[in-house]
Structures are given as structure tokens and as C-alpha cells.
Symmetry: D2
């Protein structure tokens, strides 16, 4: 398939949609990004990449980082992790406290905020302090992306911490149910740093190759997860990767993928490729409007889908 | 792959588990079935079938019939159907009214009871009366299974109607939100008849080939749905096919599948095969205990999975 | 105190408010009532009455009838009734299913719809069929009001039955929890007939004297309830008498009272009097806008309040 | 009436019940109190007091302090306070987050934890820092009780702060809805100090005389609140004073009253008296088991009730 041509068609097709949707304005540092940008990159098994748009432009990966932290945690904790976080879709807006209360402080899955925060708490318990858990996530991200320059944006993390009330509320609720080990403020602060990792679509597409290829990055040859672990994370991305539009995304796109409010989405086509897309304006569910469209066009044009 | 050998291994592996779990005893006619039975059948593209266990024994397909009715409805109503029923996982036990009330009488997806009942209502509005909508579902089932003898069990349907209060409550709630056209009792009665369709694993495995092969039954060559429609139903089965254990099933098995309280589960491996399994005892989520195990063993042994 | 003068002052004070609020338009027969009417009547221990406005005009008492039915039921069932209906404020809009589901089909109190319907079900179980339970309520109403002409409006009852979906949903939900004995449709039909009782403010004020005077009507001298029973119904009216504005009403008016969507409110001043008021336009909580104001003015002007 | 004799009868009647129920063990400092104690004191208009049991023994007033703080706040803020906290019964267990989320961070009433915390926040905004708001509450308490020695127990406050996760969660949730002005931890710390005020039944009964007598303490002659304000607080105590057993308490006792998990309950008989009772063991709703019984016996024996 001529992937470059397909990407260029998509770039043309989505152009009229670039001004629809709104950027996440609750994070001032994100609100300043030029909202009408677009980038898309494919990485194949042999390392070959195809890109269109601003594929060198870095953006805040935000919730996509939840996949990275969970990949580390699943490897450390194995089954014991599931006592602290479930694997079911949540069926509610992405940061609702209702379900968390009814389910005794055990978040439904690691991709809603409460679940991601409890994963950070678990990593901090294992790796020691704030810094070392974060460093582990950073190093893992650098390794899977093959880019030792990956950083997080302190300004974004700090400005998120200023609007952290709901996440602090979630964390204290879990603590009240004894599902929390470390200092709440420290864990949430670390969580925001992790969310503030920035990458471009080339980095991001490259980074997810281990999930596209059964836990083993086919380019570096490194085995990061077992086949079963990789398969499970893909299942989670499919059922829970897009907040309360996960069903919609599975229905229309049909690929395991994870989105972030920075406008990024990364998807995997098992055994074939990883695709990253970025465009800052969001639809009403908090997922990139153009990013979602671009991936739907991609699966339509290529016939690639897991179903 | 030697599918027959794999099935025989599975049959041996699950034997010690055959007495775990409980049959659905709220339907007297189902409670009388010998609970320790097991059957499993694979159907390949060329029509070849492999079976173990009581693959000639018929059982009540129950909620699996929701896939059949939705397949008909999606073809008739296309996008307008989604105003009446969503495509998101529900995140709650399978017949909860809470979410239905918060979401103004629009059920989350067509595989929870409320959603399936509204699908029957839509079919009745389109096809005229009770009888003809049901006949359409029956005929569709006969056609996709290649078995013109498929029937529903009047006794099971009648005994379900005697315990229909919760479903009637759901239906009247939707009616109060104007999301209902026909007489509530008639629709629910038709719904129970549809649920009372009985088949064996050979029939059921054969019947789902249209979903495994992009809407076209490879054996008869008939195109029942478009490729996009088939892909979407598979996405729905993956995200919503197992009540409040859908995430768990995707996580452990990794195939689009639908279960029923009669103990049946049918799964598809896109472009490769359809698998039906049956064992009456249920786990705490209402899915066949041994059936779930058998499918997990199957994907582990064959490496077949969509992820 | 010169009650007549106080009532006349109130009539003048509320005049500018008579066109605010909306009548209950979901019941066509009620929507036809001239919405700008007002009436208010006080009945004292010696039987003396003071009235202003259209105190001869009859109106549909609607939810006020719940007090009548519960008075009968509490006498018959005593403590066993509380297994089927609670005595706590509901804290939710007046016909929500959420709480009913979380509390296993036992309605919070007899003044929300679900609770009132279960009370009718209990009366039907005790008195035999539909007709005789309804006749008992009618006869009780005639006796306490001293007016043997009290009737219900068949047209109102019939038109309510046409919009009964939510109440049928509530009733079937209770039935699914085994908290229902009789045919759902028959019970709901009887409930609507009871709600369609019509009276004027003179009748209504007179009728509640048994609650103002410890269970004994001081005019006829008949003891309808024990002192403890009367006190408990007053407590229920105070905590649950005005849907989700019960706290607001207690806070501003400070009297046990019950409202209905027909625009009537009846209040008792223990050991002193009963007050009925009527004006069809409702506030956003479903209580008479002017009726609520008139009672607030009344307690302010007279200093009468239980607090 | 011979109040002393009535109190002595009650003391005898409740004796067999003194070992039922459990003390609040989540606060270690409270768990150490001898659980089988009982005290009851009545204060009349002329200052005369009648007591039985350990009426000199001091206990932690806990949630009863919410009435004191609200009395101060209602006087300062008047109607503007109701934008931040409602006056409706909550219909849910006493510290549920569900309703708070559905109602956009505005707690239902000032006697549930979230409401009481927002009241402390409002007092801190008005009076400046932590210390001065707390001092105002302390001074008010000293003034109404006529006991300048009233203090709070630092040990109890500190040990509550160690189990503050749920309250911190509530406070951060309100903050996320912009219904919070001050530092969350500081407000919650102040709230716990206020809850840790300790008094005996003599002090407590004396302290509530301003609510029994229309805002004016009949003994000191000081007017603390307007008549309307006092009436409203009594209405709130009746509808919301006993967590999720408020309806039950109104139903069985029929007096405005407020309980605390320290085992205290204080009730007012408008225009007649104030009654305080204390016994540490709690019923399943978190109210003093024997205290509730004693008040029920009291209203039965004296015929005093507002209904």
C-alpha cells in the first residue's frame, strides 16, 4: 500500500475540519498552542516512517502517558495490580466520582483519571520516591521511542496542579477506601508531570511499536512486555481508550488506541504498524476532533481494522 | 493448525471446572437443563466444522439473539437507529435502570436488555405486528445458520414473561421518555420469544460466519451486511458483549463475542472462523463459566486474537 | 386573632403573583382550569371557618390524596407497613427510579409516587379488589370532610392513565423486587382515581382536622387515628410533603403540609387549626407558587409555626 | 410536670439497652470513652435544670457543633449563604459524594459533612484566618452555654485529621466546582477542632435555649438570632438533624434535634425547654442508640412534641 499517498489524501480530506472543536483551555499552557495544526505518522515493522503535517512539532501527550505508566506497573505487579484497579469500561464521563464511590475506591480501569493516579501511587510504592518513579516512566518512554531527549514540560505540570481539585478529590476518596499508599499531593504532582511529557507524532508512533508487536519492539528487538501483557493493554485501549466515547471509537475506527487532551491519539494495528496523529481541537468527549476523523479515514482507506 | 486436537485438549482442560458456577434458575425451563454439559464447535471459511462435546444438544441462545435482531435493525434504520440506542459500554450491571434514567431513556447499547428491547420495538414498527417482526428474526436466523428448522421455545418464552417485571419497568421507563412506539407488553413478549430461540453449537458457530467475514457468509456466498456494518457489530460485541465483564473478556480472550444466560457464547476471529461454545453454569457476571475458560484456552493455544 | 382580616391581607399580598408559575400541563383535564384563581380556608377546633377567594371552587387534590390513603393503611398494617415503604425524605426529584433501585424496591416514603402506589397496593390486598379499596378511601375522605358528596373525576383519572409510563415503570420495578402483590395496571389505575378526588378549600381544610387534633376530629368527635399515628403522619408531611422542596417549605413555612400538582396545599397547626390553600400555577418543584407564598405569609403574620 | 421523676423513669427504662450499639471507633480518642454511660438534662425557661446520670461528664459534641457554626454563618451571610449550601434533606448516607457531584458541588444542607465544611470555609472568609473563625465559634459556644470554660480537645481533632481522607475528598470536590475559598487542609483542620468541642449535658442543654426560645436566650436575655432565623434552624434540625435517620427521628420523637457521633443529642421543645442526652453507643445510622430511645420515651411520657 502507498501509505504516503494515503496520508496525503487524509491531510487534504481533514483540512475543512481543522477549525472545528475547542482546545483544552483549562490548562493555560496548552491553550496557547496554535489550534489549527495537524500531524500524522505511521511506523512500520522495519522502522520505516511516513508522515504528513507538523510531525516535528511536539505536543503534550497527557492521558496517552497512562498507557506508559500502566505498561510499567503491569510488569511489576502482575495480577496483584487488579485488586487496586479494574479493567472494565467506565460508562461515565472520564472523571466521575460516582462509580468510584459505589465500587469502594477501586477505579474501573487504569485509563480514567482515578485509575491512572492509583497506578502512579503503585509505581511510587515500588520505586521509592516521587523522583525515581517518574524517572522510570521517563526512561521507559525514552527507550520505547528510541529518543533519549524526551522530557516533560514543568510549566504544563505546574499549571495543571493549580487546577487539581477534582483529581485530589478522587485521590482522597481512594485513600478513604485504603486504596492509596503515598502522600496524595505528591502522587498527583507526579501524575501531572507524567501527563506533561511531550513528543511529536514521529516519537509517539515509534514508541507504541511494542504494543503493535506482542510486547517486543521490532526495531530495537527489545522485549518490553510479554505477549499476553501487550494483548491485554491493547484490549484495554480498545474498550477504555477514549473516555466515554470508547465504544464510538471502536465502532467507527476499530483499532486499539489512546487519546489525550493535548490533541494526540496513538493507535496500533496489531502485527503491522503504529499510527500517531495530532490536532489540538477536541470534540465534546475530549478527544481530538480531526485526529479521530483522520484515523477513521485511515481504516476506511486501508481496510485495516481488528474487526 | 490441528483444530480438532486443540478442541479435545480444551475439553480435557475444562473438565474439572464443569461443576463450578450456577445455572440461571430464574427461568424454570432453563433450570431443568443438565448443568454439567459442554460443547464447542469451530466453523472455517470453507464450511469445515470441528466439534467436541454435546454439539448436537440444543440450548436457549438468550442474549445472543440480541446480535441477530440488531443485525436486522442496523440494516433497516442505518444511522437513525443511534438516536434510540447508543454504542457505549454501560459500566453497570446488565439491567440497571440508573443509567437509563440519567440518559433520558436512551439505552447505552443494543446488548443490554433495555437496548435489545428498543431494537425489537424498532423492528416491530418497521415490519408491522408482533408476528412479522419475530418471523423476520427467525427467518434471518434460519438463513445465516443454513438450518431452516430453527425454532424458539414457547415454554421458555412464557416462563420468562412471568418474571418480566424488570424488563417491563425498563420498557415503560423508555416509553416515559418517548423512546418507545408499540405496546410495551407485546414488545417484551416478542423479545422473550426471540431470546428463546434454540440452537446447538454447530448451528450457532455456522450462523455467525457473516460477522467473521465482513458481512458475507463465505459458505452460502450471501452478503447479509456491508463490511462497515459487520465491523461495527464486532466492535460492539467486543466492548459490550459480556455484560459488566466485557472488559475482562476482551482482556483475557481478546475476541468479539456475545454470551447468553443459557450458557452459550459465540465468538468470531475476523477473516478466519467463528467459534461457538456452550456450558450452562454461569459465573457471577452471568456468562458461562466453562465457556469463558474454553475461549481463553482457545486463544492461548492458537495465538488467535484480534490484539 | 382576626383570621378573616389576615386572610384578606394575604389575598391582597399575593395578587401580583397570581400569574407566575405554570399549571401542570401533562394532564389535559387539569390544564383547562383557569390558572389565575386563588382560595384559602381556615378551620378551627369549634368548626368555625374563614375563607377568601374561590373557596367553593373544586380542584383535583392529586398528591394530597396520598395522606388519606396512608392514614387508612397505617391503621390497618401498623408496623408491618414499614417493610414496604420507609419514612425518610428522598432527596431526589419526586419520581426518580435511582433511589428505588439502590434500595431494593422499597420506596423512601409514602408521599413519593412509588410509595403512594405501594400503599394503594397494600390497601387493595387488604380490602379485596380495585373497587372496594377505592371505595374505602372515598368513604374515609367523605367522613373526615363531613361531605358525603366527595367524588373523583373519571376524566382526570383516564387522562393520567394515558401518561402513566413512569408510574408503571416504578410499579414494575417494585414488583421485580417482590414488593408488589396485585396487578400493576389495576393498582396504578386505582392510584390515579384516588388522585383525581376533587374538593374545595372548605372541604379540604375541614378534612384534615383529624391530623391537627391528635387523630380525633374535634367537630364530629370521631377518633380516626391514635395520637401516635397522627403525630407520625404530621412528621412525614413536614419532612416529605413537598417533593424535593420539603426542606425549603419547612424552613420558610414551618408547618406539616402536603401539596398536590392540582395547586392545592393543606397544612395543619397542631392543636389549633387546619389551613387549605389553592392556586393552580406551580413553582419549579411542582408545588403551588401562590399557595406556598400564602402559607409563608400566614405563618409570618400569625406567628403560628411548630418551631 | 414532675420532670425529675420522668427523667428517673427514663434512666431506669433505658438501662437494659446500655450495652447495645457500638461507639465510633474510627476516632481513637473517642473509642477510649467508657461506652456504657448515660446522662440527660432538661433546661427550662427560668434556668431551672433537671438531670440524671453522668451529667457532669464531658463528651465530644462532634456534629452538634454544625448547629453552632451555622447559627453564626446565617447571621453573617443571610440569604447569600444559600447559594453555597442548601436546606433540603439529603436522602443518602451522611457523607456521600454522589449527590454533591450531581448537584455541582453545592451540599444539600449544612448538617451533612460537606455542608458543614463549606460553612466553616464561609466563616473563615468572613473572620479572617483559621484561628479567628474558630475563636468566634468557641466564644459563641461559651456565650450561649454561659460557660466560659468550654474548650475543644486537641487530641480528638488531631486524630480525626489523620482519618480525614473522605472529608478532604468532599472539600476538594467542592473546590473543583468553585464552591470553596480557603486552603482545603486548613478548613478541614478547623472543622475538626470545632467538632472536638466538649461539653456535658448540662452545658449542652443550656446552650440550645436560644433555639428553643425564638433566637433569644431566656436566661441571659440575649438575642442571638432573629425569630425567623431560629425557626429555620429548628426546621433544618427536624428535617436533616440525624443523617439518614432524620425522617425516622421526626416520626418517632417529633422534636427538632441534632446528634453527634460522640453520642450526644440535643433537642428543643419550642417555647418550653431544651433537652440534652448522651450515651456513647451508636445505632446503625450513627446516632446514639440510648439517646434516641430516651428522647422517644421523653416525648411519649410528657406528650411534648411539635406535631
Amino acid at each position: 500500500m502507498d501509505y504516503q499517498k494515503i496520508l496525503e489524501e487524509i491531510e487534504k480530506d481533514i483540512a475543512p475540519e481543522l477549525k472545528r472543536g475547542k482546545v483544552a483551555d483549562y490548562i493555560p499552557a496548552l491553550a496557547e498552542v496554535d489550534p489549527n495544526q495537524f500531524a500524522m505518522t505511521i511506523t512500520l515493522e522495519n522502522g520505516q516512517q511516513f508522515s504528513v503535517g507538523k510531525s516535528q512539532e511536539q505536543f503534550s501527550i497527557q492521558s496517552i502517558s497512562k498507557v506508559l505508566a500502566f505498561s510499567l506497573a503491569i510488569d511489576i505487579y502482575s495480577k496483584s495490580l487488579y485488586k487496586r484497579v479494574g479493567v472494565e469500561p467506565s460508562g461515565n464521563p472520564f472523571n466521575s466520582l460516582v462509580q468510584l464511590e459505589y465500587e469502594s475506591g477501586v477505579p474501573r480501569n487504569p485509563f480514567i483519571n482515578a485509575g491512572a493516579i492509583v497506578v502512579v501511587d503503585a509505581l511510587m510504592s515500588h520505586f521509592g520516591g516521587d523522583y525515581s518513579a517518574l524517572e522510570k516512566v521517563m526512561n521507559f518512554t525514552r527507550e520505547i521511542s528510541g529518543n533519549s531527549e524526551i522530557k516533560f514540560d514543568t510549566l504544563v505540570a505546574t499549571s495543571e496542579m493549580e487546577h487539581a481539585s477534582r483529581n485530589l478529590s478522587l485521590a482522597y476518596l481512594m485513600k478513604s477506601f485504603k486504596n492509596f499508599d503515598n502522600d496524595v499531593t505528591e502522587v498527583v504532582r507526579t501524575y501531572f508531570k507524567q501527563c506533561a511529557i511531550y513528543m511529536n507524532t514521529k516519537d509517539l508512533s515509534r514508541a507504541m511499536m511494542y504494543l503493535a508487536f506482542k510486547g517486543k519492539d521490532p526495531i530495537s528487538g527489545k522485549q518490553f512486555l510479554t505477549e499476553a501483557q501487550a494483548k491485554r493493554i491493547n484490549a484495554l485501549m480498545l474498550t477504555c481508550g477514549h473516555y466515554d466515547a470508547s465504544g464510538e471509537f471502536a465502532f467507527h475506527v476499530g483499532l486499539p488506541a489512546k487519546s489525550g487532551v493535548g490533541g494526540g491519539i496513538v493507535a496500533v494495528v496489531p502485527n503491522i504498524m503504529s499510527v500517531a496523529v495530532w490536532s489540538p481541537r477536541l470534540n465534546k468527549y475530549g478527544n481530538s476532533h480531526v485526529g479521530t476523523l483522520a484515523l477513521e479515514l485511515f481504516t476506511t482507506k486501508t481496510g485495516l481494522s481488528i474487526f
